[in-house]
């Protein structure tokens, strides 16, 4: 009796979590999917997807989200990796530098958007510094940027916030690395670059995968910074469209269906990209070994 009871304990402990996920994760997600393939009367129809795909912003939002994710991942990874390598060396003030490097991570998206808005507005502090340093004579109109220019502008300023979260994961990986491999390689005559490329990167792969996935998921859902810097519609993103239909035109007959369908599209894109990335990595790894 007692033994039987003991076997039940883990299930009892897990039940609340399982029930919670059935009710508040699986159920809403299934509902979202079902609602996305039914029309307003509840009949099976792909009209929502047709509406989304025909939305004049959809194409732009889709390609912007993808471009943003790709370049944000690359840029933040390269920078984060360099900073992590730097911080991994023992030097005076390394802890203080780590502390400072983490600060941007603490910014809520709303606050970070306002930080850059106060900077890039016409009479903001960035133009002010440039004038004070005699680099420009007239303020630059940063916020009139359009199209790809505006998109890459957002990628750069967003990197400021997201880089530390990638960096700290890589740093933890570096710190767990067995130093002996590195030392052996150096004794055998490997250059610093070779050590990084052939020793550190392969051993660090699981950590890198984690960091990249984390950044990819975040980047695919970007919206706040675009809206705060440029307003709705200038640089559309998929989640920006959801915010648009929720915040700006919530009263339209199909606003709910539009934002819902957009959310299903975002989910599919996130899951597909993560799976594709994981799969690509697995084959690569297999090839190495």
């Amino acid at each position: 009796m007692n033994k039987k009871f003991k076997k039940l304990v883990p299930y009892v402990l897990l039940t609340p979590a399982l029930v919670y996920y059935l009710l508040f994760w699986i159920r809403p997600v299934l509902r979202a999917f079902v609602e996305s393939v039914t029309d307003l009367e509840g009949k099976l129809s792909f009209s929502n997807y047709i509406n989304v795909f025909q939305d004049s912003y959809f194409k732009q939002a889709f390609s912007n989200s993808i471009i943003f994710a790709v370049f944000s991942v690359i840029l933040s990874f390269v920078l984060a990796f360099l900073v992590a390598l730097l911080l991994n060396r023992k030097f005076r003030g390394a802890n203080l530098l780590l502390f400072i490097a983490l600060v941007p991570m603490a910014f809520p998206p709303t606050a970070v958007a306002i930080l850059w808005k106060t900077g890039f507005t016409t009479f903001g502090w960035i133009n002010n510094i440039l004038v004070q340093l005699n680099l420009i004579s007239e303020p630059i109109l940063w916020l009139t940027a359009k199209g790809n220019e505006a998109l890459f502008f957002l990628i750069f300023i967003d990197t400021w916030t997201v880089m530390p979260s990638v960096m700290i994961i890589l740093l933890a990986g570096l710190q767990n690395l067995n130093k002996e491999y590195e030392e052996a390689a150096v004794i055998l005559g490997a250059s610093k670059f070779q050590v990084i490329k052939d020793i550190i990167m392969p051993i660090l792969r699981p950590t890198i995968v984690t960091a990249v996935i984390l950044r990819m998921i975040g980047a695919l859902q970007v919206w706040m910074i675009a809206v705060m810097m440029f307003g709705y519609g200038r640089v559309p993103f998929l989640v920006e469209r959801i915010a648009y239909y929720t915040d700006i035109v919530p009263m339209l007959e199909n606003s709910y269906k539009m934002s819902l369908t957009y959310s299903v599209v975002v989910t599919i894109i996130v899951l597909v990209s993560v799976t594709a990335y994981l799969r690509a990595n697995r084959t690569k790894q297999g090839g190495v070994v």
């Binding site: 979590a17 997600v29 600060v103 606050a111 900077g119 016409t122 959310s263």
Partner: protein
Amino acid sequence: MNNKILSKTVFYLVVTTIVLAILIPIFFFVSSSFYSGYEMYRFPKPMFPETKFEFKIDWDTEYNMYNLMIYEQSEDAYELLISSAKPKDFRRYLKRELSIVKEDEEIEADFAPAKDGPIYLTYKKNMFYNYVTFFSITNKAEKAIVNSLMAAGWTILISLTIGSMAGYAMARYKFKGKERLSVSLLLVRMFPIVAVSIPMLVYLIKMGLNNTMIGLAVVYSVSNIALTAWITNSIFLGISVELEEASIVFGANKIQTFFKITLPLAVPGLIASSMYAFLTAWNDAITALILSGDNPTLSLVVYKALGSSGAMQLAAAGAVILFLPALIFTFIIKNYINQMWGDVKF
């Protein structure tokens, strides 16, 4: 030898660049929150916010009114701000544009000598004017702070109770489907939360929980239960079973052991989990926008402040208020950040 000095110089140059790239934007962002409206649009402006303004006031005999002029350092001259005969106009202008709070009578008394010839005077700026105004013009701001705290509190409560139970089960017991469970916990955390928020609206309306903080917390907890389970799992794994067994040998029962031995050792992990839960609720805007637009959290109020007031310095003040708690909590949890995405530890 020379080479070593060179590489050291380059090294510290890089370090300095990183530090400046991080601190300069933060410094000017915080300092923008102390600008008055006049300073915000002055260009070029001094690097630091003013603490006081110097004025020249003279009396226009032709129109019978005062001219209020401000000292402009870059041109070493006085610039006309406004002209009026009524102290009321000056009071409003000083307050709105220069963050100087004065009474009508005070202004009248100060300005009166100007009728006999130009006078010079200095008024102190109310440095925290934007912070005070942020709360008074966005009348939802105070409520919003309470809301954000409540949403965070509920999220902590829900995800800690449910998540740590699951974490304990995973660390201490063998059961079927354990592997699959930990993979699905990872999947939950990768899942875009908007895809849960929008359909949840219907359920929350049915339960009467739309525009409530419990409603928001229900959604925030989805990813945080998984996170708490991960963190507590690794914490409980780190607490040796022998210690628990020893306690039982000494005569404690299982429940006593859990509360007297296991739980106290798990406290740091539980704190880290609650901080994460706090940050999820505190930083989110999109879920709050979808589920609680009429009863906003602070993050949402700050987001709307930029659009509605148009005064960037006020939005900046709001953003600083929003940023501070997040900063404090991030530093408390920084040692646990890696557990968020797996098993790496500092």
